[in-house]
């Protein structure tokens, strides 16, 4: 594979992760909510779109009896909306909880989603891989398909970036920031903080669902082990490295992490420790995270002044 092709693949993954990080930044950067269910929203988007755009499986070994063969646009939209709804559903009972408890509940919820996917074979093909997910305009692109998909994904990243940036700087975003700082204050100022938290959760989850759909339609085949909590942790690392509260930071952080993880794939297996590469890749992310937190606690593009404000008592 030529280097350009390689970079395109890395770029597509970076785009998908950027969407995930944009959603997470609304939760954590804007609203201060500890969401650990992101892999679950990603999975809901991927499976929804995959199920809606493929026919039911046929043949004697077929387990999946559901499939709709609908256009891909419908699948992507439905995956986005359903992930948002699942986000609200998870948030309804949990979003009032103090930080750490919210983290535990959302982490369990994401695992629950993954186990449901694993077990409900009639809907998802269960432990087997859900295959033959169609690619948009597959046969009609006259040039490199990866180039087309790269442009598609990053165009969507651009649109979402502008939308979330606008929301964050709007009066709506101002209430989210107030919740992040101290949620008694917006409450005393007449804001229904519970409803604002639900909205934040739903919107961020929806964008993770969109990322899931884009991922499913790129890789042809998905299975439940693709949606382990490690994805959530990587997205957290991306948001923190990029700088919580900054949407450009979220995109940069996601891109840095994807790049770091993907370049280590091309180290040959016969170098020392070559057989331990998958662990080393995780360690690299950890080391970068620690270095950033140590030398630049606000993250690469975070606001140092905001972090400092009020800490000098």
């Amino acid at each position: 594979m030529a280097l350009v092709d390689l970079l395109l693949v890395v770029g597509i993954i970076a785009g998908v992760y950027s969407l995930l990080a944009i959603g997470m930044n609304m939760h954590w950067g804007d609203t201060g909510l500890l969401n650990f269910a992101h892999a679950g929203f990603f999975a809901v988007g991927a499976y929804t779109s995959a199920i809606l755009t493929t026919p039911p499986a046929t043949g004697s070994l077929a387990t999946r009896v559901v499939g709709f063969d609908l256009p891909i646009v419908v699948g992507l939209l439905a995956g986005t909306v359903l992930a948002g709804l699942v986000g609200v559903l998870i948030a309804l009972p949990s979003v009032r909880l103090e930080g750490d408890y919210l983290a535990i509940v959302t982490l369990s919820a994401a695992e629950l989603i993954r186990l449901l996917i694993h077990n409900e074979a009639w809907l998802t093909t269960g432990a087997q891989t859900l295959k033959n997910i169609p690619r948009p305009l597959d046969a009609t692109i006259p040039f490199s398909y990866d180039l087309f998909y790269f442009v598609l994904v990053w165009a969507l990243v651009g649109v979402c970036y502008l939308l979330f940036e606008r929301l964050s700087s709007s009066p709506f975003g101002r209430v989210l920031h107030a919740i992040r700082e101290n949620d008694d204050v917006p409450l005393a100022l007449g804001k229904n903080t519970y409803v604002f938290k639900l909205k934040s959760f739903g919107i961020g989850a929806a964008i993770a669902g969109l990322a899931g759909g884009l991922w499913a339609h790129y890789v042809y085949a998905i299975s439940s082990i693709m949606f382990l909590p490690s994805i959530t942790f990587l997205i957290w690392a991306a948001v923190i490295i990029g700088g919580a509260g900054s949407y450009t930071g979220a995109i940069l952080g996601a891109s840095v992490i994807v790049f770091l993880r993907q370049i280590t794939r091309f180290i040959p297996g016969d170098v020392p420790f070559g057989d331990q590469l998958s662990y080393i890749r995780l360690m690299v992310v950890g080391v970068v995270l620690i270095l950033v937190l140590y030398y630049r606690p606000q993250g690469l593009l975070g606001d140092a002044e905001r972090l400092q404000a009020g800490t000098s008592e």
Binding site: P171, R174, G310, T311
Partner: protein, 254 residues
């Protein structure tokens, strides 16, 4: 005409009885001072009125409606706004944003309108900014409008707290020690402002203060609290000369 009614309020924390059998009425456009020693239950009583605590017993009636079971934000939307004794500035937000947050019925707080940035969103924001500017000028915080609130001094934080509450344009404002840490010259102007707001905008005030002189100057009625209960209630002169109040709180001050 009665605006606020507290009926037999009681609040305990474990074994501590913080507020007990507190009943009183506040008339529209009245300025009511609340005094009493540390731990008398003044702030707890405010939290019961504002909905931050649920009373064990008793009811709160505001503008003819029983609001005992309403959430704090619903009370604010009906015009009953509180400030915090310890200023709760939003440290990671700028002074101007602290102020703008307080405007009520802001159309831009709806997701779709915010995403579309409609003209009504922009117009509302513009009007709110003008109001915020006027208040910040008055509170001598205008030059600090783009500063993070966390960088303000203690007194400035109290002023911002007050400005934010005024920005919400309440009918009844509960002020918990608004003058604490504010310099004397500005205190005078704050007191004047409170009286002006009452006269010009028909606002009603309930003010907790340890600055007895200030309270006596602006209050129509003073409530003296002690050990969770109302010990004395009347005009400033009556409360000031009440034997029980002298003993419990005012001591050598008279």
């Amino acid at each position: 005409m009665t605006l606020l009614e507290a009926n037999g309020l009681r609040k305990t924390f474990g074994g501590i009885v913080a507020v007990e059998e507190v009943s009183f009425e506040v008339d529209r456009t009245e300025i009511v001072g609340v005094i009493g020693p540390n731990g008398a239950g003044k702030s707890t009583m405010f939290k019961l009125l504002a909905g931050f605590h649920k009373p064990d017993e008793g009811t709160v009636v505001f503008d003819g409606e029983d609001i005992t079971d309403l959430a704090p934000n619903d009370r604010t939307q009906r015009g009953l706004v509180r400030t915090f004794q310890i200023a709760q500035e939003l440290t990671g937000m700028r002074v101007m944003d602290n102020m703008l947050l307080a405007s009520q019925n802001n159309p831009g707080e709806k997701v779709l309108a915010a995403a579309a940035n409609t003209s009504s969103v922009r117009d509302f924001e513009g009007t709110a900014r003008d109001r915020a500017e006027e208040l910040l000028q008055f509170l001598e915080l205008w030059d600090l409008r783009d500063e993070y609130a966390g960088n303000l001094s203690g007194g400035q934080r109290k002023l911002l707290e007050l400005g934010r509450a005024l920005m919400a344009d309440p009918d009844l404002l509960l002020l918990d020690e608004p003058m604490a840490g504010v310099n004397p010259d500005l205190t005078d102007r704050l007191l004047q402002r409170i009286m002006d707001l009452r006269d010009e905008r028909d606002m009603t005030f309930l003010v907790v203060e340890h600055d007895i002189e200030a309270i006596m100057r602006i209050s129509d009625t003073v409530i003296g609290m002690h050990d969770g209960g109302v010990l004395s209630k009347g005009t400033p002169e009556e409360v000031q000369s009440d034997e029980r109040m002298l003993e419990a709180y005012l001591g050598g001050e008279v």
